[in-house]
Amino acid sequence: MGKSASTLPAMVLTLLIITAVAGTSLGFIYKLTQTPIAEAAVLKQQEAIRMVVPEFDNDPASEMYELTSEEGFTLKVFPAKKDGQCIAAAIESVSNRGFGGEVKIMVGLQPNGTIIDYQILEHKETPGLGTKMVDWFKPVAAGAEEKSRNAFFDKLFGIKAAEGDGGENGQSILGKNPGQINMTVKQDGGDVDAITAATITSRAFLHAVAVAYTTFTHNTDCESGATKIEEAPTREGAEQ
């Protein structure tokens, strides 16, 4: 079969047709996927909120308000209420100090600022290193089983179990109040163990948490805004 000759009109026409068809079909697919993409984003957000605050009976997304941090970040605050009372808030916070750019997190705070739980929303940190922040700063829960297995491997490779930290680890930030502990990594004189080989990511993560804490406790009373929380958190409260 003979090819079309490479004359200017033929070339222009061919490219025109191809780009027009491509454009049209992309527009069509865009329309088709627009709703699912938006839904997936909302679902992810709601999932993250549910993960970081205790059970609530309102719709945090509809009561969302925005706060501006000292550095000029815009934080989204999702108040979680039970029986009309504000029990906690999920705060979408961000730090630009990550190893690969921005680290976006959702952190749940009690009205007094005690950390309930957190979720990583978006990041570009190194896989296998910085990505450990997803559960690094949480207490080792399923520890028992893991420990026995580690003991076996420790023996196999002749490695002595690390002494010291035992039990209460210095990694977890859950149940702690950034107002009471120094929310920086140990390398910087703080109270939190950084992720092994990912100190920069750890700093960025803690920075995002700290931004959420300061902004939240200085600007709002969980419900709406204005009043500043003065009461110091009790030990019981911090234990939850």
Partner: protein, 194 residues
């Protein structure tokens, strides 16, 4: 041409990664875990099949001098479709592969097959060639991803095999990708000669 030969050449004899050394950017970039390799491989396979199909259909209407831009537009269209569909229906995988999906456009494997095969063969052979090449590419990515994930973090397809502390971190990072790929190619070349 024998269609089985046409299909199977993508796995070994003309494997995009191990033999042709095409598409190195996604190969090295996304294979930090087996599942990422699988996702990237399948996305590329889809683009390869669709691009080969369309290119072989329109090859007679495209003047020679503008064939490369025409191919690229066709490929880019399918890549964008994959990107939007993934974002809509498998957001978790999209998050993991995010940056690399648009890069399928410039993956030499796709343009290479369009130029070297689809623009010279009929529709049927082109689809089979795309499928074979794509699945061979997927296989290579999964192999590399498995090795790196296993050596680097002690996981395989996200399942723990041995405790993470004993993993060699370097394999999860970029240098490990080069080392693992180098050894894989060496081993495969050894078998090829035998």
């Amino acid at each position: 041409m024998n269609q089985w030969k046409n299909f199977s050449k993508g796995f070994f004899k003309e494997n995009a990664v191990f033999t042709l050394l095409l598409g190195m950017c996604p190969t090295l970039g996304v294979t930090s875990s087996a599942i990422n390799g699988l996702g990237m491989g399948l996305a590329t396979t889809f683009v390869l099949i669709m691009a080969n199909l369309v290119v072989s259909l329109v090859k007679d209407f495209i003047p020679d001098k503008v064939r490369i831009p025409a191919f690229i537009v066709i490929i880019a269209t399918f890549v964008t479709i994959v990107e939007m569909v993934m974002q809509a229906y498998v957001p978790a995988l999209f998050d993991a592969l995010g940056l690399f999906i648009p890069l399928i456009v410039v993956n030499c494997v796709v343009l290479g097959r369009a130029e070297a095969f689809a623009s010279k063969n009929n529709v049927g052979s082109s689809i089979i060639d795309g499928a074979g090449m794509g699945l061979g590419f997927t296989m290579a990515l999964v192999m590399l991803g498995s090795i790196r994930e296993l050596l680097g973090s002690g996981f395989l397809f996200g399942l723990p095999v041995y405790p993470e502390e004993y993993g060699m971190l370097v394999f999860v990072l970029a240098p490990g990708a080069f080392i693992a790929l180098g050894y894989l190619i060496a081993i495969i070349n050894r078998f090829k000669r035998a």
